[in-house]
């Protein structure tokens, strides 16, 4: 944290004008909105909503959008953190947020290797496979909701 605060990025964030933090914060919100908006639609589909819509028709647009949103949120998030990194030491919400993000990413990594996920465009999935995807959808939703809720609360600690 000390290293991050003293980094060039930390200096740049602190010394480049009174609107810098606000603008970077805007990008963080746009990134989170893009990520969560996409994830919400995909996870609800995995949980069984809109079952008449083929899974690939939903996963094709939402997965790259979610990845883009995550990249924007992560990049802007590091900048926000670097501004006053040491102030966040001991902030309990940080210790909820980052493990939740880690778990969310792990969930994606495992899901993307599942035969049920990889075969979604080639054939109909068995009820068992659909049930498995449902679990991943539920975990995903819980992870990102936790990450966002804890993240929002960081500033109020």
């Amino acid at each position: 944290m000390v290293w991050l605060q003293r980094s060039t990025l930390g200096h740049a964030m602190r010394e480049s004008g009174v609107w810098t933090y606000g603008v970077v914060n805007l990008f963080h919100i746009l990134g989170v909105a893009t990520l969560f908006g996409s994830v919400l639609v995909l996870d609800l589909r995995l949980l069984g909503v809109w079952r008449h819509v083929a899974l690939p028709a939903i996963s094709k647009p939402t997965v790259p959008l979610a990845a883009t949103g995550f990249a924007i949120a992560a990049a802007s998030g590091v900048c926000l953190l670097a501004t006053k990194a040491t102030e966040y030491i001991g902030n309990p919400f940080l210790y909820i947020k980052f493990p939740a993000i880690g778990l969310g990413l792990l969930n994606v990594a495992v899901l993307s290797r599942l035969p049920a996920w990889r075969q979604q465009a080639n054939r109909d999935l068995s009820p068992r496979e659909q049930a498995r995807l449902r679990v991943f959808g539920g975990i995903s939703l819980a992870c990102w909701l936790t990450a966002i809720s804890a993240g929002r609360m960081i500033g109020y600690w």
Binding site: M13, V18, L44, L80, K84, L141, L145, T146, Y156
Partner: protein
């Protein structure tokens, strides 16, 4: 039928997570005492206009106090720019002290120095 159940579960999770947000944790003042607090000391570290809130440090009563000012642009509009008040200068600040008696932090509404008052929260008394 099944998808309606899933939808309710999904919305249930959403609602529960929003409800879990503590009601007291609204804008920053909740962590500070309601009573007005005034302190006179010398500037330890000058004004910084870094986000999310401008800050400065003063030494008073043998302690270094962290002053949390308004957001950077608002603090600047109040005339409190970086480098205006020199380190070592005597200032009087007015605001609300942190609820935690072990934390020497004040959410600061006004800073008075050399006959000038910088009112960074003019709508608060």
């Amino acid at each position: 039928m099944h998808s309606r159940l899933s939808l309710s579960i999904g919305l249930g999770i959403l609602a529960a997570s929003l409800a879990a947000v503590p009601a007291s944790a609204h804008h920053g003042w909740a962590g500070n005492l309601d009573e007005e607090f005034e302190l006179t000391g010398t500037v330890e570290r000058g004004v910084s206009l870094a986000g999310p809130h401008a800050t400065m440090q003063i030494r008073a009563q043998g302690k270094v106090w962290d002053l949390t000012l308004a957001p950077p642009a608002r603090t600047e509009r109040a005339g409190l720019k970086e480098g205006i008040i020199p380190v070592g200068a005597t200032v009087t600040i007015h605001g609300h002290r942190n609820r935690d008696a072990n934390r020497f932090e004040v959410k600061t509404e006004r800073v008075t120095w050399n006959g000038r008052t910088f009112d960074v929260y003019p709508d608060r008394k």
